[in-house]
Each structure stands twice: as structure tokens, then as C-alpha cells.
């Protein structure tokens, strides 16, 4: 926000249009991590927003250049720590693309199961925190939050059985997956998704026709189709704005072409549309998980031998970009290889980073209370924004 503008308006004096600069974040209950918004307010109305990012910068891209192909996948999960599986998948797919490593079909299916369970877990957290933003820690929002966390916990239990970890997995490796599904795991996963499906009905019953929820979300934070395409948002945001774009459908990876699923599209572009898109995605993810478990092929889980030394994987000279559909949108990974055990250069395309860029376009004109509702509906994860 240019300083001169603010000063100029304050001198105007009475008239109800004096401006107030308010700092929201980086430490704020609804900043979803560490995000700073400098709001310029006229009364309760936001006239300008200045978004400041970078509080969680951890040199991820530089780390990618100093760590080997074997080491980095478990670090990759720390970019988007709420949906760690998809960032790992983006990294290993890029390496596999450059090195033309084959991935066995069983590994591909396991990757799909992991990615879709991750989407369910991530959306659970999104719904909970979003309602927390709108309803407050001392209100109905906390109730929804605790329900959602209860369901997310079940998915994390399944991940713990699969990989031994609950948040950052290190499940993927170049050429396949590191762990195979333990005996009986698929049955447990089926029970989990059945249970969660029933719970999603409950969330919808609680929120869909809830007048208070609707007045807070409908018509708030409208992203037009044009704006969405111009800014380059992806994931539920662009699908909520009437563009049917999903990487799983547009450019299938990891045998997504085998599965039958619907890409939900809403045209309103407001917070409620994004909510609807994500609620349908919940069910579609459950559908994909079931199909993948039904058709889970037998065979090896990796085309390459198990990891023995960190310099084990060498990739020929070349470069490659892959993208996967993360829970928040398109997660891209670009790698330039010089033939050694480490990338020469790597670059992340974080879905949250691009989605967050839409905030200054849609927030002005809304009330302070809407700012947090819009922020929550964008669902940023700041590990992925700042990297």
C-alpha cells in the first residue's frame, strides 16, 4: 500500500471515510500459518489489501539442488505439509520423466490411493479450519473443526500403517513406492472411506441449508472466470469459477485414465461454490480409492532396487516438468539435471502460491469478516507458498 495515499485520505477529516491501516498477521488466529495482510479499512469495509508472504521461506528449491534424488522426496513432503503425498509425487514424477524410469502398475495404483486419501485428509482440514475462521474457536466453527479432525485422524492412521509416519511420509521413491500395502490394509481403507462418506453426508446436512453458513459464503469473494484464468488459479478455485480443469483429467498421470470420476464444476465463483466443489471432490476421491483398491494389480512396487546409498539414483542430462493435481490445485515440479546424483536446478510451482495471488483482486469491497472467509475458502498452506 503506498503510504502517500493513506496520509492524504486521513487529512480529509470527518465524513466516515477516514482510513485505518490494520495489520492482520503474520501471527493472527486465522492467518493459516504465517501470512500477513495489511488491510486498509474504511469503517468495516476493506478498500485495499497488501499481501506479504515469505515468513516461512526455507530455501526449498536450493535444498533440492543440494540433496540427492534419493534424499529429497521426504523433504518434498514439507512444501505442502497438509497434503504431503502429492508434493512427493510431483517430485518423483519429474525425475522419472527425465530418466524415463518405468513405474510398475502396482506402484502407480498405490500412488493413486495415497494421493486420493491425502486429498480427503486435506479437505477435512480445510473444512474444519474454514468453519473455524467463520464461526470462531468459541462457536459452531469449533464444532465442525473437531468433527473434521476426527475424520482426518482416521486417514492419518491408515497412512501410519502404510508408511509409519502421520504427516510427512517419504512414501514415494524414484521408480515406484518405498512401502507396499501391509496385509489387510485395503480392507481397513475401505472401512475408513465408507465411514467418511457417511460423515460427509452429516457435514452437508449441517452446512448446506444452514442459513448462517449460506449468508456468510454466498456472493462472497466472487472470482470471475476471466480473473481465474488470468491470475492462474487452479484446483477447486478454478473449478468453482466455471472452468472444468483438472490435471488428473487434462493430462492423466499415474494411470488416472483407468478410473472413472467426475470433475465437479460450479459457475458462481463465490465461497459457496468452492465449498460445493470440494464436497463433491470428497466423494469422487472416495470413488477413486475404491476403484484403485478393486483393481490393485499384483507385482513389484518399484522398478528400481531398494535404497542403499544416497547417490544411488543418477539421472541423465535433461530437464522435465510434471504436474499433479494436489488438494489445493496444480502442483508442478521442474527439474534440470546435469547427469549427477542431484538436480542442477529445481523449481516448485505451488498451487497455494498462485491461488493466493487472487486475494488482492477479490478482497477489496468486502467487510473484515469476509476477509477471513475468503482466505479460508482459498485454502492456502504457507509451506507451499513460501517454500
Amino acid at each position: 500500500m503506498p503510504e502517500t495515499q493513506t496520509k492524504q485520505v486521513v487529512e480529509v477529516g470527518y465524513g466516515g471515510n477516514e482510513r485505518l491501516m490494520m495489520n492482520m498477521g503474520p501471527q493472527h488466529p486465522s492467518s493459516h500459518g504465517v501470512f500477513r495482510m495489511i488491510l486498509t479499512l474504511e469503517g468495516e469495509t476493506v478498500v485495499a489489501v497488501d499481501a506479504v508472504i515469505g515468513y516461512l521461506h526455507r530455501c526449498h528449491e536450493k535444498l533440492g539442488e543440494t540433496l540427492t534424488y534419493v534424499q529429497y522426496p521426504s523433504i518434498a513432503s514439507k512444501t505442502d505439509y497438509v497434503a504431503a503425498m502429492t508434493s512427493e509425487l510431483a517430485y518423483v514424477s519429474a525425475v522419472e520423466k527425465i530418466g524415463k524410469f518405468e513405474v510398475p502398475r502396482r506402484a502407480q495404483y498405490l500412488r493413486v490411493v495415497a494421493a486420493e486419501l491425502q486429498r480427503i485428509a486435506s479437505h477435512c482440514l480445510w473444512l474444519g479450519t474454514w468453519c473455524l475462521d467463520m464461526g470462531g474457536a468459541l462457536g459452531g466453527g469449533a464444532t465442525v473443526f473437531l468433527y473434521c479432525i476426527r475424520e482426518r485422524e482416521m486417514v492419518l492412521d491408515r497412512f501410519e500403517e502404510l508408511t509409519g509416519a502421520r504427516l510427512l511420509y517419504g512414501f514415494h521413491q524414484i521408480g515406484g513406492t518405498r512401502y507396499d500395502a501391509p496385509p489387510g490394509w485395503d480392507k481397513k481403507v475401505r472401512e475408513t472411506v465408507d465411514f467418511i462418506e457417511a460423515r460427509i453426508d452429516e457435514y452437508e446436512a449441517m452446512l448446506d441449508d444452514n442459513t448462517f453458513f449460506r449468508v456468510r459464503t454466498q456472493g462472497v469473494g466472487v472470482i470471475s472466470r476471466e480473473l481465474a484464468q488470468e491470475v492462474g488459479v487452479s484446483g477447486p478455485l478454478i473449478r468453482g469459477s466455471g472452468v472444468s480443469y483438472d490435471v488428473r483429467r487434462a493430462e492423466p498421470y499415474s494411470s488416472y485414465q483407468d478410473f472413472d470420476f467426475v470433475v465437479p464444476v460450479e459457475t458462481a465463483g463465490d465461497c459457496y461454490a468452492r465449498y460445493r466443489v470440494r464436497m463433491v471432490e470428497f466423494r469422487q476421491s472416495i470413488r477413486i480409492v475404491r476403484q484403485a483398491l478393486d483393481g490393485l494389480p499384483e507385482g513389484p512396487i518399484s522398478s528400481r532396487p531398494g535404497v542403499k546409498s544416497v547417490g544411488q539414483v543418477r539421472v541423465p542430462k535433461g530437464e522435465g516438468y510434471t504436474r499433479v493435481e494436489g488438494a489445493r490445485g496444480e502442483v508442478g515440479c521442474y527439474i534440470v539435471s546435469d547427469g549427477g546424483p542431484k538436480p542442477y536446478r529445481m523449481k516448485w510451482r505451488g498451487a497455494s502460491f498462485s491461488n493466493l495471488a487472487v486475494l488482492p483482486h477479490i478482497v477489496p469491497g468486502h467487510k473484515v469478516a469476509d476477509v477471513v472467509a475468503i482466505m479460508g475458502s482459498v485454502d492456502p498452506v504457507f509451506g507451499e507458498v513460501d517454500r
Binding site: L20, H28, L138, F212
Partner: protein
């Protein structure tokens, strides 16, 4: 020993005040347990097993021992006075509430008026806190508070005046006596509508979700009390819960027949308490079920819907009373 009547009143007030503070403390435990059940958890448990019955005491002790911080840039006098100015009207409202016939500090003949007048005074302390803190969040919250409480006091008063009209008196005990045959909540049409309006206005007047925009911790962190700590914070919290409890008592008196109920007359205070807690729990239930609505939407509900509706209701009640005469039944 014979004491002058004033001394008796002082002793009475002292007992009521202390019983009340204890009740307020335990109402917080009740709310926490109730909310915990709604959210499929257990709530306070370890402090005073089983089920954390010592938790309110522990909370109070903790707050007493906390460091009291006064921001350097604050308006010291206003900042330090605000919790007291906020708390006093919240406790004063109990002066006119009789807990049974002849059991109360003062059964004024304008009891309802006194209650309504004093309970609106809390806004002064609230605004002082928001202003004196010299914090932008607190200031915004104080602005919202003035907006909201002024908007909702009118429907609140109109809704509370319906039983007054029906009973033909502003004296609390007279209103209860008028409900001997029929509680006003059961009075055809006007009684139910007035009770509903009363509940909605109560939510807003007490700053509970979905109308808790002045606290709004996800937007304004903690609203007007963001800078308060230690005992000053405790006073504000105490005032808020006392106000809530007082309003529940008022609702029980005006609509649910106060201490009337089956059994011997000695059970009256118990019935009264049960009814008040019931209203409190309904408010809590709403609080833990809904998301908060926006400040402009809150004002729109008040001025466009609730205020005209309660006004019409009051006129209708006047008509009913003119035709049927005062009193329930």
C-alpha cells in the same frame, strides 16, 4: 441484636452476590461440558476428578496469579476502569430478581424497567475497554459493540415488555403471580412469538455466536479485551457470564413462570434455577451450532426484521389485553 433494615439489605446483597459469583463460575463449567458433549469430547476432567468439578476454581486462581499488563500507549484511567464499569451493571441486574416470593434483594415495583435500563449500561464499560486499550482490533470491536447493542436493546426491550403488558405490572413477583394459571410462553401466539424474539435478542445482547462479532476471535483476535490480562480479563469474563445468567433468569421470570412448578412451595427456587439453566443451555446450544454472521447482516436483521416485528407484537399484545383483560389463563 437488632440491626437497622439497611444492614439487613447489605447482608442479603452480600450473600446473593457471593452465591451468584459461585453460580457464574459453575455455569462456565456447565457450558464447557455441554459444548464438549456436542463436539464428541469430554471436556474438563482432570482438575477435580471426576469431570473437573474444580476447574472453575482453578481457572479463577490462575487468572488471579497472571501478570497484569497495562499497555504503555493505553489511556490508563479508561483502560483500568473499564472492567469495573463493565462488571457493575452486570451484577446489579440481580438486585431486582426475586428467587422465590419474598426471597431477593429488592422486589422493585419497576423491576423489569430497572433490569433493562441497567443491563444496557454494560456498553459503556465495553466501549471504554475498546477505546482505552489503544489497539486497532479493540477499537473496531468497540465500534461494533456500540452498533450491535444499541440495535438489539430495542427488540430486547419490546420483547420483554410483552409479558409486562400481559401481567399488567412491572414488578417481577407480580408478573410471576400473573402466570399462575398459564405461563406466558404458553399464551396463545403472542407469548410464543415474544419468547422467540426474546431468545434471539438475548443471543445478540449477550454477544453469543452467531452474534459474537465483538469478540470475533478469528477476525479481531479477542475484540475489545485483546489487551486485558489477569484479573481484569477475569472481571470482564465474569461480567459477561453474569449478564448471560441474569438474562436467563429474566427469561425464566417473564416467560416460564419463575418459581411456579409442581411440588411444595419450598421447591420454588429450584424450579426457577432449572428454568434459567434451561434457557442458558438453549443459548449455548445455538452458540456451538452456528457460524458467526457479519456485522452488516446483524444490523439488517435487527432493524429490518426484529425491531418491526417486536413492535407489531407489542401492539398486538396491547390489543389482546384490551379485549381479554390482563393476566394469564
Amino acid at each position: 441484636m437488632i440491626l437497622p433494615p439497611a444492614a439487613w439489605h447489605a447482608i442479603e446483597a452480600f450473600i446473593v452476590l457471593n452465591a451468584l459469583l459461585l453460580l457464574v463460575a459453575y455455569v462456565t463449567l456447565l457450558e464447557r461440558k455441554f459444548a464438549a458433549r456436542m463436539q464428541s469430547r469430554i471436556g474438563p476432567y482432570y482438575v477435580g476428578r471426576p469431570h473437573g468439578w474444580l476447574q472453575p476454581i482453578a481457572d479463577a486462581l490462575k487468572l488471579m496469579m497472571k501478570e497484569d499488563i497495562v499497555p504503555t500507549a493505553s489511556d490508563r484511567w479508561v483502560y483500568n476502569l473499564a472492567p469495573i464499569v463493565f462488571l457493575v451493571p452486570c451484577l446489579l441486574i440481580f438486585a431486582t430478581i426475586p428467587f422465590a416470593p419474598e426471597l431477593g434483594v429488592a422486589d422493585l415495583n419497576i423491576g423489569v424497567l430497572f433490569f433493562l435500563a441497567v443491563s444496557s449500561l454494560e456498553i459503556v464499560g465495553l466501549f471504554m475497554g475498546g477505546w482505552g486499550s489503544n489497539n486497532k482490533y479493540a477499537l473496531l470491536s468497540a465500534m461494533r459493540a456500540v452498533n450491535q447493542i444499541i440495535s438489539y436493546d430495542l427488540p430486547f426491550i419490546f420483547a420483554a415488555l410483552v409479558p409486562v403488558l400481559l401481567a399488567g405490572s412491572m414488578q417481577m413477583s407480580a408478573i410471576v403471580a400473573a402466570q399462575q394459571g398459564l405461563w406466558f410462553v404458553a399464551y396463545p401466539v403472542v407469548g410464543q412469538l415474544a419468547f422467540l424474539a426474546f431468545l434471539v435478542a438475548t443471543l445478540a445482547a449477550e454477544n453469543r455466536v452467531p452474534f459474537d462479532i465483538l469478540e470475533a476471535e478469528s477476525e479481531l483476535v479477542a475484540g475489545f479485551r485483546v489487551e486485558y490480562s489477569g484479573m481484569k480479563f477475569a472481571l470482564i469474563q465474569l461480567g459477561e457470564y453474569a449478564h448471560m445468567l441474569g438474562t436467563s433468569f429474566l427469561g425464566a421470570l417473564l416467560f416460564l413462570g419463575g418459581w411456579l412448578g409442581p411440588g411444595p412451595a419450598a421447591l420454588g427456587p429450584v424450579w426457577f434455577l432449572v428454568k434459567a439453566i434451561l434457557i442458558f443451555l438453549v443459548v449455548t446450544w445455538v452458540r456451538w451450532s452456528f457460524v458467526r454472521i457479519r456485522v452488516d447482516q446483524i444490523l439488517a436483521i435487527s432493524w429490518k426484521l426484529l425491531l418491526p416485528a417486536t413492535l407489531v407484537l407489542l401492539l398486538a399484545t396491547g390489543l389482546v389485553v384490551a379485549v381479554r383483560g390482563p393476566g394469564g389463563g
